[in-house]
Symmetry: none
Subunit: 261 residues, 2 copies
């Protein structure tokens, strides 16, 4: 029955499922709050909490930077302190960009997401993730509110995620955990030769298209682009090797050779 | 020797390893190019290619939005067409936000990252990922340059990743694949102390149990073992350091000090 399909739709699948809260501690720019809200809604996260936002709340800048994530912005709750913001949560993570001189468990976003997903399956369990101020991050007093620290793996020589990207890294992993990742399909590659590069593929397609023009294959001029694209897709999907491209060019040449008189 | 440590440093580990190119097709705002460059460098991606950027190149807006990812901005190369930009690549993915009415393989960022990482281990193999214009995405003609499509799992009711976030989703997954298996959860410890050993933990628990005996805490003798075990479990889960154990012992001592007469 058609109706049963809806349970497999990601939207329906997550609709009734609890999702973690995102807690921004002392965010400075409304624009960054808006971009974080946008990142959240992409991942079906809607519980946004703000601790003492510098420029006040509500914020027009946040609303316009949210690109339409209005339900997140309008549903946001403001708290005076971090302990107030996490009072109802029983699993809290703190995101930090650098190691703290503190004793805490450190996990990756993926590990945190798996834990949150598993944890929230329990009755009445509520989880949340703390994010600090732009540039400065969380204060140690905020970090102590958390059960563990999340550090996203980043270039040790350039560790500079913006707030919305940090939120997105967590949201993305949580969303994958919640909907379940698909098994990896294989793209076949041959060992005899090397995969063709795009210049080789494109010039073979061009060769073919030229010959088809010559042969009057494209009766209807307007349809030529889509027909060439369809041909191209077929060859592209074949994951051709450089050797195969040469073979195909030989085929084209051979097929179009004018009979000797 | 101190010098050998550098090979285990993540920076050094990736330094000699090929990384995929990020190709932005007809990006509009320099600011978005800069934010994408910033996202890239967090993931040790440096090969940025721009196809026909609307506002020209170089761009002051891009440089300032890159937050210091200068090497990516200054190393960026500009191409007139997408086929030119991917000519030297032999594995290309195209990112799209929605399903296309085309026959193509669709993979997740994680699947694409695993494939890119595996593929680039082969001699001379080069890979890249195409990203379309802000809001509009890639044209079908650009998508046909790719071997497969990457779609990040997003809320079907709100699919609105900005360009830098889309780049970051791919970069993040590739970086995880490149640095190897995720670091296992670890205990970050400050430099002044070390994780407590079991003798220290046990003797603290013994101290506590003795004091509780003294205070008449264990009314029912048969339940004492399980109650002590439960207490022990709580402290065990805390992964205490040696310093923290000493602090706790101080707490116990302090709480049980007899008032002076």
């Amino acid at each position: 029955m058609a109706g049963t399909d809806s349970t497999k739709h990601p939207d329906a699948a997550l609709a009734g499922r609890p999702a973690p809260a995102i807690i921004l501690v002392e965010p400075q720019l409304g624009e960054n709050i808006g971009m974080a809200a946008r990142a959240m809604l992409n991942c079906e996260l809607t519980d946004l909490r703000l601790v003492n936002p510098r420029d006040g709340w509500p914020s027009d800048d946040a609303l316009s930077a949210s690109s339409g994530a209005i339900q997140v912005i309008e549903g946001a709750r403001v708290f005076e302190t971090t302990p107030d913001a996490v009072a109802d949560l029983n699993l809290v993570f703190a995101t930090t960009a650098r190691k703290r001189d503190m004793t805490s468990r450190v996990v990756t976003p993926r590990q945190a997401a798996a834990k949150i997903h598993e944890f929230m399956g329990g009755d009445g369990n509520r989880a949340g993730v703390l994010f600090g101020r732009e540039a400065k991050g969380l204060k140690n007093d905020d970090v102590t509110q958390a059960d563990a620290i999340i550090m996203a793996p980043v270039n040790p020589a350039f560790s500079s995620l913006n707030l919305a990207q940090a939120v997105y890294a967590i949201g993305y992993e949580w969303y994958l955990a919640a909907i379940g990742d698909e098994p990896s399909p294989q793209l076949a590659t041959s060992k005899e030769t090397r995969p063709a590069n795009k210049a080789e593929l494109n010039s073979m397609i061009q060769h073919l298209a030229d010959e088809l023009d010559e042969a009057g294959f494209f009766h209807v001029a307007e349809k030529r682009p889509v027909m060439v694209r369809n041909l191209r897709n077929m060859f592209q999907r074949a994951n051709l090797t450089e050797q195969e491209i040469r073979t195909l060019r030989g085929v084209i040449t051979s097929l179009t050779r004018k009979p000797e008189k």
